[in-house]
Amino acid sequence: MESIVNAALAGAGRASLADALPPATPEGALIGSLADESAEQRLLLAAGVRAIYRLAGYVPEHIETPVHPAPAETKTICPPQVADLIQHILGERVDDLLREALERMVAAGMILPPGMLPLALGSATVAQRPLMAQVAGERGAWLGGCNSAWSWVRESQAHYQDDQDALPADAETIWQEGTPADRLHILARWRATDPATARDEIAAVWRQEKADFRVEMTEALAVNLSAADEPLLEAALDDRSGNVRAVAQRLLTRIPGSAYVERAKTRADALLTMGKKKLVTTLPDVYEQAWERDGISAKARHGTGERSWWLLRIIALTPPAHWVERFGLSPTDLIAAATDEHATDVLQGWSHAAVRYDAREWTQPLVDMWTKRLAGRRNGDASPLEMCELLLPHLPHSSLEAMARNILQHGESKQDISWEMLATALHRPWSVQLTRAWLAGLRTFAGELSALKGYPPDWWECSEEHVMRLPLACLDEVLAPWDVAEAKSGNWQAVNWRQQHQAFLKAVRLRQRIRDEIPGT
């Protein structure tokens, strides 16, 4: 610390001013001309002069090397109205709309302007990152290099880039030393271009990997799956991890003629025989330990007897086509023939098998059968509902839409699959036809809202959650003027519906802007 400061700290009465203020400094020279002043004033005035001199004589720092600048963009910066739109959607926090807007931007080769990046990157959720990274451009990647909270931009972009390009030169190093995400990425690339090498690499590292990673590696075999993969998958059936075994079982069912499928058939054949147009079921007597690795657990699901459970699982793992072949009957006839005391377990087994083996010709007859049972079901029998839920997503979309239109027209009856269940299974967006049917009904409902008693039926619910079911071609129709009846303030269900409806229309308008302002493909 300089001597003038030391003098001030100690006190003017105790310090020597001559030492504190050498005449060679501007303040020292000044003090020399103020000999008449008190020591205190001389020190204070000199300090003031010194402070101002220092302010005026500030010497800037020197930074030798400038930062490495961001490279030029290869994509187009989106027009201002698109940037405004994205900013608006970010403020509204509607994830589905943001995803759609960003997907359209990516498809159109657009990126966000640099001024929006801090907001956009700062608000991106983990799920939104891959898309957000694609619209962040070179500038976003560069920013991520400066701010560690945004380092994911570069990683995400690199992965995306890889999908377009060949394997990186250092693929082997990444596979040996990279993060799990990077390694799986390399594995996926290998599997796509050179399935045999990928398989060998998996086999080579298998024993040293953790269970979660073994699951992912097994899953990677789904691409370009062939009979050559069978030995590895068969070995995976002996894995300690149940999750690994489950993936291996699923993949083995997809290899035609695999030993796994043959074992399943043999196991099942002993259980089902055909009597006089009726199936006769024989329950397995004892559990064989070898079943465990194929996916049949010894312990039954709660509420099911052990032997029934084994039956169900054995049927579930057997290709349904096997029964058609063996008994020479169609799926519909086979289902009709299942009537004995174990029929429910057999039918559940078939339902699971239809999904597992993607046996489309079984889905509709099974759904029809379960729907019938829905009407007649006794309390506590959850299986018809569960099976419908399991099978619905595998029905052709046209059947689902036909069921939906039926409810829109006639309402829900006890024999029907509920609207709620259908709505979950229906693909988005809906067809134009179904959308129009729904809209027409919705407009009538809105016009008669004042007559609403209790809750509105599920199918006339509309809120911002439902905006993604609309096909883009129908948005304008949705936004045509609405005639919504007044709701009495006491009728809170109607009041609530009006509010939800407003939120729905607002989301539709936003989606319309996305469609109109970001060019589609």
């Binding site: 300089e2 001030a8 300090a47 405004d84």
Partner: protein, 448 residues
């Protein structure tokens, strides 16, 4: 488009208003929306029976709304401006309805009245005469009080330095506060403010004795200058009087001070919290004259600032400067033209060394200055992740440290390339106020 959505949002009194305004920035909340060259208007359905009538004067961006909100501008005003910034087509061009026309007419008469006072020196002189007597008496009383205050200040300063600054490290805040209060009573509020700000120094960092000594020294110089006021040149006399505590009155600008008509760019602003309210600093630069104007507004907590000053825009206006050896403190007397976005270049932008030379020059004219507008040309913002330090580096490698903060927007728009940067320099740190990158001016607000 005269202003952007971000600029409109910068006017929001708080973040709640900003987000409420953003929600209302959609035509469907509005019963009617309209505009002409002078104003925007709209009727917004609130919770009440009648919609609120909202109007915005485009020349001054003054907002008038019939809602009961005490916030200013209210969310309806912000919403209306945001619609205009985002979707101007939503506002039908046309003749204003009576409730807008009346308001505009009233504003015009008021402005004309002001103009009339400004234009007729006789009227001013007559008014002056009647005031003169009472004024002289009050002034005499005040001079006495101030003289007493300065004498007390000198005794206190001498005591402090005689006993040594080491002794003040353990003093409580009240040690400084009670001195400041006494000085305020003696009408030397300017010095009182400087003393009050010294309270935070002792023990704050290793350099505190050096800083405190410098501050005390400058106050001593000020006190000394005041006692020898008659020996100073006229404009510097005004500086010293103001720094001691004589307030700057807007009405004084009618009779004295310099007026400059120019296109003024509102480069940026920041708000400093003080014990009784908040102080807003807004920096302007004349596009043709190249001069710098600093507009300081004070507001009590939760009260709006009297004038809405939107950073990032440019408007033709008459600006009055209070007399000073280095005129900088100013007031917008009359707004004359449309509000436009700043597109650059900002006049007077230069590298760091020439800027620092200009700081030294202005200190030579008025040595008590504490804030300087820096308009730096072609500087690259840099962030050191290891230390968290931000710098602005020019082409020669000279660099100024930025006030600690997060400047990701600045970094994002520069991308490691040189930009023009406006900021407030306090002798140690540069507080970024706005940046011009690729022809777009971005105000850099506090809330970034």
């Amino acid at each position: 488009m005269p202003f952007t959505g971000e600029q409109a949002l910068a006017l929001a009194p708080d973040t709640a208003s900003a987000s409420a305004g953003r929600k209302l920035a959609n035509a469907r909340h509005w019963k009617s929306l309209g505009r002409n060259a002078e104003a925007l208007w709209g009727e917004c359905q609130g919770s009440g029976k009648d919609p609120y009538q909202v109007r915005v004067d485009l020349a001054s961006l003054s907002v008038k709304c019939s809602c009961p909100s005490h916030k200013f501008p209210c969310k309806h005003g912000l919403g209306l401006m945001l619609i205009f910034a985002g979707n101007p087509r939503d506002l039908a061009e046309g003749e204003p309805p009576p409730w807008v026309a009346d308001w505009l007419a009233k504003r015009h008469t008021r402005e004309e009245k002001q103009a009339a006072t400004t234009l007729s020196p006789e009227a001013v002189a007559a008014k002056e005469q009647t005031r003169e007597k009472g004024k002289a008496k009050r002034a005499e009383k005040r001079e006495k009080l101030v003289a007493q205050g300065i004498a007390n200040l000198n005794l206190w300063l001498d005591d402090l330095i005689r006993n040594g600054l080491a002794a003040v490290e353990t003093q409580p805040g009240s040690f400084w506060e009670s001195q400041a209060a006494r000085m305020t009573d003696s009408q030397i509020a300017g010095i009182a403010g400087r003393v009050r700000s010294m309270a935070t120094l002792p023990g704050s960092d290793a350099d505190w004795p050096d800083r405190l000594l410098g501050d005390l020294g400058r106050v001593t110089l000020l006190s000394r200058a005041y006692t020898r006021l008659e020996t100073l040149e006229l404009p510097l006399r005004e500086d010293v009087r103001h720094l001691v505590g004589w307030p700057l009155r807007t009405e004084d600008l009618e009779t004295q001070g310099e007026r400059v008509i120019d296109d003024w760019a509102y480069l940026g602003q920041w708000v400093e919290m003080q014990d009784r309210g908040q102080v807003q600093y807004t920096w302007l630069r004349g596009q043709s004259c190249g001069r710098t104007a600093l507009i300081v507004q004070f507001a009590l907590f939760n009260k709006p600032f009297a004038d809405l000053l939107m950073p990032g825009v440019c408007q033709r206006a008459e600006v009055g400067f209070w007399p000073s050896a280095h005129p900088q403190r100013a007031y917008v007397l009359a707004r004359q033209g449309d509000v436009r976005s700043i597109t650059g270049p900002i006049p007077g932008a230069c590298a760091i060394e020439p800027f620092l030379a200009s700081v030294a020059e202005s200190l030579a004219q008025q040595p008590w200055q504490e804030r300087f507008l820096a308009v730096l040309a072609q500087v690259t913002p840099q962030y050191d992740a290891a230390t968290g330090a931000w710098h602005a580096r020019d082409a020669q490698g000279a660099a100024l440290p930025l006030t600690p903060g997060d400047y990701w927007l600045l970094l994002a728009v520069s991308g490691g390339h040189p930009v023009d940067l406006a900021g407030e320099w306090d002798g140690e740190q540069l507080r970024p106020l706005g940046t011009l990158a690729e022809g777009i001016y971005y105000p850099l607000g506090e809330a970034e």
